[in-house]
């Protein structure tokens, strides 16, 4: 497991310019989507790609902690749900100000990550996967019991968040660019973190935690900080999701959602960051396309996932690499 993970993240200096061209292309395409959408069913296309980017934010955080930290979290959807509930609950009390709800969403995700991380990070590998799942399920059931905020049925967000009282997110196109901006900021933040000293320690701990500890690093604290960062960004994704769907529900935290996020980062290629964006787009667009063709789309989608695992190691990006005849990532 360590070997494939190790091979999947090369340092930037070793990357070709073409590999760097891919993130640029991704963001360029995302920036141009609204112009293309103007010729078609605009609100549908905008909505779909907004969703793609919202999930890409969550997937980026998961890719950071999972692909670079080696910590496979099966409860990542909980952070998204917590961020979404922050918006929903604050909104239910009549406050729509982004300067309030956004920090609260980030902080709530970070605090939940800090508390659960303290327990989870004591365990390793499969046990870590399962204990993160356990905490995810706890968050799911707590959300379902919030009777004043809709319980199992969820809660409608009546107004999208405002900035200093201005409803800047009401317009779908403005909201789209707001989400794109968030994605861009998160992407560059993670790129910076990954190649910083902190990121190197985190990756070192993924390869060999004992060795890093021997070198004098407090691995547990580094991993916990990483986990908290991922939690906060998950909260951000939840903030965006609540605004995008104008609805909050415990279903955002279900373990299937966490599974979907894992599938997204695997689809894109683990430990590449921009792979998380590609994966989120691929997953949601495949789902959308197949869903448009037939009601039984899952009969195609399921086997497709199996085939991707069997024949496209290193995700879709790895597949592209191999087709081009370059050495694969994993």
């Amino acid at each position: 497991m360590t070997q494939t993970l190790a091979a999947s993240s090369v340092l930037p200096s070793q990357q070709t310019d073409r590999a760097n061209a891919l993130p640029v292309a991704i963001f360029l395409i995302l920036a141009l989507v609204p112009f293309g959408a103007a010729f078609g069913p605009e609100s549908y296309v905008l909505g779909l790609f907004t969703r793609v980017m919202v999930f890409a934010v969550a997937a980026l955080a998961l890719d950071f902690i999972c692909g670079y930290g080696g910590l496979v979290s099966f409860g990542h959807a909980a952070f998204v749900g917590i961020g979404a509930y922050a918006v929903g609950i604050i909104g239910a009390h009549g406050v729509t100000e982004m300067l309030v709800s956004l920090p609260v969403a980030l902080l709530a995700g970070a605090i939940f990550a800090y508390l659960t991380g303290t327990v989870c990070l004591r365990t390793k590998s499969v046990y870590f996967i399962m204990i993160t799942l356990a905490f995810g399920q706890m968050a799911y059931f707590i959300a379902g019991s919030l009777a004043p905020y809709g319980g199992d049925d969820g809660l409608t967000v009546r107004l999208r968040s405002t900035l200093l009282g201005f409803p800047i997110l009401q317009n779908d196109r403005t909201f789209y660019y707001f989400v794109l901006l968030s994605l861009l900021v998160v992407y560059f933040a993670f790129r910076t973190i990954v190649y910083s000293r902190f990121g190197r320690v985190l990756r070192g701990a993924r390869e060999n935690a004992t060795r890093m500890a021997t070198l004098g690093f407090d691995v547990f604290s580094f991993q916990r900080v990483g986990y908290v960062i991922a939690g906060a960004v998950g909260g951000l994704s939840g903030f965006l999701l609540a605004n995008a769907t104008e609805f909050v529900s415990p279903a955002y935290m279900s373990w299937q959602r966490s599974g979907e996020l894992i599938i997204m980062i695997l689809l894109g290629g683990l430990g590449t960051l921009h792979g998380a964006i590609v994966g989120a787009a691929a997953y949601l667009l495949i789902e959308e396309t197949l869903g448009g063709i037939t009601e039984q789309w899952k009969l195609i989608f399921g086997p497709l996932l199996v085939l991707i695992v069997l024949f496209a190691r290193g995700g879709l990006l790895g597949l592209v690499d191999r087709i081009r005849g370059r050495p694969g990532r994993g």
């Binding site: 499969v126 009969l299 989608f301 399921g302």
Partner: protein, 307 residues
Amino acid sequence: MSTGLVVVQILNGLQFGVLLFLIAAGLTLVFGVMDFINLAHGVQYMLGAYLAVAFYALTSNFFIALLLALAAALVFGLLLEFLVFRHLYDRDHLEQVIATFGIIIFLNQAVKTVWGAAPLTLPIPEIFSGSIILMPGLLYPIWRLVIIASGLAIGLLLYVLVGHTRVGMLVRAGATNARMVSALGVDIRRLFMIVFGFGTMLAAFAGAMIAPILSVEPGMGDTVLILAFVVIVIGGIGSMRGAFLAALLIGLVDTLGRSFAIDILRLVMPPSPARTVGPAIASMLIYVLMALVLYFRPSGLFPARGR
């Protein structure tokens, strides 16, 4: 909270625990010996239930239907092993998760396509229908007792098989260090197939046995799968004894929690909040238990792997 109610709920908890054990047993072996995360284990349980219903429609005899369902589930499981799983044994856990997740998506939709989305039912076999008098004024359905008994019998059978036969010895050795067993000249792939086929049949058996008291519907395997994972993680991956004890523990805690959480909470808080908080606490109880166990014993109660 009368004594009778407590007894009934303890029996229900045991029955649920036994059911979880049947599913977790296969899962822990597959996981422990092959280091393979099989999320599709839950759909094999669902398939067992559906096959039992289908064969019952053909034969009108529960026991023949049960046998046919087990045979069909075995064939299907081995087919899956041959087509997909065996290519995944030396892959990442993550890749195994995604592929078997794909199989879940496919099979859940497939049963919906074949049998429809509406829940199906299976009648309780004639000779085990009705209830038995446990105490004066306390009736308990016989079929649930049959499930408990058959689960305990299979537990005993597994105890003998795993603890006192040559294959069982290899399985235990495989759970401790599969590579070493292979190096000693054991055909580990064949061992994998035996373990896998057996695990599949146990899950299908659980599905078929529970079908008469539960509605058979698509997705019924998903919740059970997560619970089975909780069981094997608490018990310690690869440990049959751990799976058995953890399954009973989870079954009892979950059932008793759901029945009595509100009553217990009412002792410490007013009735109205107790009614809202109670169910949430009851659903969370097993996850809290799991988090606690893993906090103090990071590899579960009975770790099998000798690393």
